[in-house]
Subunit: 143 residues, 2 copies
DNA sequence: CTGGATGCAAAGGTTTTGCACGCTA
DNA sequence: TAGCGTGCAAAACCTTTGCATCCAG
C-alpha cells in the first residue's frame, strides 16, 4: 500500500481535486491546470503536477499513463474500464462493470504477474466526425 | 490498414530491425540505439526513431505505448500479451496464447469501441531481488 | 538520376526540480 | 512555530524536425 505521509489540505490541493472530479474528460495536467486557473489564477503548473502525484499516491486520483504522450488523470477511482481514442488519445469511461480478471494460469518468464486489466481502444465522436482514420499510425495514435 | 508507401531498405533500417528482433527485452528507443551503434557507430538517434516509425507503420514492429515514460518496441509482431513491471517499466512477454476479446456488449458514451486487449502488470525479477516495493508510487511506476 | 533516408543539431512538448518564501496544522 | 507546500524559472527528458548531403533502386 502507498505510504500515506502526513499531508496538508491546501487551497490548491483541494481545488485541484474538486476540478478533477468535476471534469469527466480525463484531462491532461495542463487541461486541468487551465480549469484550476479560473479559480486560482496564480497557481503554477508545477503545483498541479506535484499535487496530482500526491493525490495519486494517496489513491484519491488515477494517473492514466500512456508512454511517450501526455498522461491523463481521473478523479473517479471507482473501478472501471477506459477506452482510448486511437486518433487523439482522449479517454472515456466504459459503462460496463469490471469483471475480476483471474490472473492465475498466466505466466511470463522473468516476471511475477500480480494483476491485469482490459484496455479498450476505439475512436471518439469528435475524431469520427472529422473523418479521422481509425488507425492513424498504429493502434495507439498520438495526442 | 497502414498505407505502405515505397520505401528503401537502407543499411540502417535493416540493422535496426535485426537488432530489435534479436533483443527480447522490448527496448526503449535509446536502448535499441545503443545496440545498433555497436554495428553502426555513426547512426543517429533520430534515425532510430524515424525508422521505428516507418517499421511500425508497415506492421514490422510493435510500438508499446502502454505506460511508463518511454515507449518500448517489440520486434515480435505475433499476437501476444505483455506484462509490465510496475516498478521499473520493463516489459515481458506472457507465454499464454491470446484469447479473442469480444468487444460487443461493451460501450462507452462518446466513443466507438473497436477493440481491446488485456494488459498485465507485475514485478520483474530484477526489481524483486532488489526488494523493490510492488507499488513504488502508484500502479504504473516509472522508468 | 531521384527522391527517400541519413547525420547533426536544434527545437518541441511534457514533466520534474531547486530555491526562497508562504501558510496549514 | 515547524516543515510541508507554493510560485517561479530552469532543467531534465523524450521525441520530432529542418536541412544539407548521401545513397538505394
Amino acid at each position: 500500500m502507498a505510504e500515506q505521509r502526513p499531508q496538508r489540505m491546501t487551497r490548491q490541493r483541494r481545488i485541484i481535486l474538486e476540478e478533477l472530479r468535476k471534469l469527466k474528460s480525463h484531462p491532461t495536467a495542463d487541461e486541468l491546470y487551465d480549469a484550476v486557473r479560473e479559480r486560482l489564477p496564480r497557481i503554477s503548473l508545477g503545483t498541479v503536477y506535484r499535487n496530482l502525484d500526491v493525490l495519486q499516491e494517496n489513491g484519491e486520483v488515477l494517473k492514466l499513463e500512456s508512454a511517450g504522450s501526455q498522461k491523463r488523470f481521473d478523479g473517479d477511482t471507482h473501478p472501471h474500464y477506459h477506452v482510448r481514442c486511437v486518433h487523439c488519445g482522449r479517454v472515456g469511461d466504459v459503462e460496463n462493470e469490471v469483471a475480476e480478471l483471474d490472473v492465475t494460469g498466466f505466466s511470463a518468464p522473468g516476471f511475477t504477474i500480480t494483476g491485469g486489466t482490459v484496455e479498450f481502444y476505439g475512436i471518439c465522436d469528435l475524431c469520427r466526425e472529422r473523418g479521422a482514420p481509425s488507425r492513424p499510425d498504429g493502434p495507439q495514435g498520438r495526442q
